[in-house]
Subunit: 391 residues, 2 copies
Amino acid sequence: MAASDRLNQTSNILDKSIQKSNSQLSLLQVDTPFKVCVVGSGNWGTTIAKVVSENTAQHPHLFEPKVNMWVFDEKIEGTSLVSIINNKHENVKYLPNIPLPENLVANPDLLNTVGDADIIIFNIPHQFLPKIVQQMKGNIKPTARAISCLKGFEVGKKGVQLLSAYVEDELDIPCGALSGANLAPEVAKENWSETTVAYQLPKDYRGDGKDVDHRVLKALFHRPYFHVSVIEDIAGISIAGALKNVVALGCGFVEGLGWGNNASAAIQRVGLGEIIKFGQMFFPESRVETYYQESAGVADLITTCSGGRNVRVAKHMAKSGKSALDAEKELLNGQSAQGIITCKEVHEWLETCELLHEFPLFEAVYQIVYNNVAMDKIPDLIDELDEFRVE
Amino acid sequence: MAASDRLNQTSNILDKSIQKSNSQLSLLQVDTPFKVCVVGSGNWGTTIAKVVSENTAQHPHLFEPKVNMWVFDEKIEGTSLVSIINNKHENVKYLPNIPLPENLVANPDLLNTVGDADIIIFNIPHQFLPKIVQQMKGNIKPTARAISCLKGFEVGKKGVQLLSAYVEDELDIPCGALSGANLAPEVAKENWSETTVAYQLPKDYRGDGKDVDHRVLKALFHRPYFHVSVIEDIAGISIAGALKNVVALGCGFVEGLGWGNNASAAIQRVGLGEIIKFGQMFFPESRVETYYQESAGVADLITTCSGGRNVRVAKHMAKSGKSALDAEKELLNGQSAQGIITCKEVHEWLETCELLHEFPLFEAVYQIVYNNVAMDKIPDLIDELDEFRVE
């Protein structure tokens, strides 16, 4: 085949792909367009609100175009952030220099934002979730469906609870999750990336065209620059989203020691293995494929381990000899590196289960952060696992 | 448990691990110590020769300490490289500033190097393999066993042939492979890394203590700074080792376009998926776990995509608009980016099989390199796959 023929062939494949995608969406019909809202307006919250607002505007037969975004209002040089967003169509505080769609409307009243929504997207810092969920109780449509963009889980005496399960339990509505290799500023700039949405049809599913399903969620989140894969494995993407931060600390340690790319890749390999094992042990319904095939699995792990807060804090610890707490203070300006909290929760839970020895990397990270174990012991600590595995 | 107790516990685990590892090796006995040689003396060849020489010196009950390394002799400022290596214990040309063990002996005579060896380690550039193997025919011990450190496969009319299988066929001896997240200079400096050795016991296996087995290979290659996992899946690690270079070109393109970490992680995710699919399709005996659990799989992919020749050439193409050939010439000083050759071989083979559509990333890379398709079409080209997958 000549080069020009091949070029035509490629261009044909492309055209077919786009046509197919459009025709799929125009075939999709719903009885009443869904009302969508976003709870949260940080950089990731605003970015996701931008994504869905672009889609609701484009598919009015599926969604009410107007998207309410709940904003904890504050004054920016004397003016309310809510009114700035609604007048300038820019979140000057948390996502500056990114134009927002006009159908995205900032709303300072939480209950007014969520009250009539069919789809509620949570995108707030982890620690605010309980308070916000308590306020929402009894003030949402009983038929509403939720998607949580929060990463992670809570570990308590009852064991590991997914944040989506917490929302489900407290609000009595089904809740899925969105997670992926998505550094917010890059998505906001419309650099191409991928994500994973996980959702399970609820027991009270009302039927095609009447309820949220995988096609509706794809239509809501998929953009030309934000490619969405919709799956069922909520546990898998939540586990991966939380534990990757612990692995990233390990990568930061070996980077800070000057051990280079091989060592960082080794930590990521071992980390992926322990993430899968953790998932299989405590959420046996989660699928191994989720961890190595989805954006929320291996891709998010790679992105997180190539930079971000956890890597930076761990590198700083390695180079300066400072404690995790001091390193956090110096670098993060009051914010926290999530892996530092997660590795402690995971340690305490695994200790209760007497399973610490099954997760030598997670445990090594914990011991380095909390008990001052020397970082250069990581290879020996990890090898314990391999000794078992090889035989 | 108090912090000090935990520290003791950790230190106990470590001690036990080291004791266990040592006691396993002292339990391992062989009738006659194996003679080991290395064919090749580039930076990776010399590094591996250093690794095995350290182990043969340390375990004389398992290995003849002296390791012959075949060196294609050349003059360095008038002096033979072989004699420099043997006098200075440094490969000044290909691995400068790294002291080599004294029991590692450079040998300019190929047949003399391999003639009495029980274990032959191949570590030469791909293109020299046929000529060297032909010279060796009939000049090695019929009971010898080989390990290939060459990455990859050859694609011809008969299909995909592993390089280890080529050695087996031509020399009539069993041949395993070694592959991992191992940038040679970092291993040479004894920065910690991991690798995977794959070997299958041959039909004429002579029994424990009389023949090479997994424990012998672990003793030969494992160092405190070079952690070895020994498995059986030769096909898996060879496929991964070849195809990662194609994926790395894809990463270089999106990096060069300025699309950032999310995009590079997405390419790696899709690439891992296509590597697994390729392996399953053409080597159904290879194990999916190899790709996502072993150093030769996901970790080598991550290391390779974070730097190296393929990424550099692809980035340069993206930034300058130059062809692959021109970019290679400008950057690599006569060397080649292996992915450019591999993506063509893979394309031709998949075209023969009418399976191009199953591997959209590999095909996109091929089309960009050889048919001038625009790089920013990658997301659409890849999405074809996802459309199928989601439904």
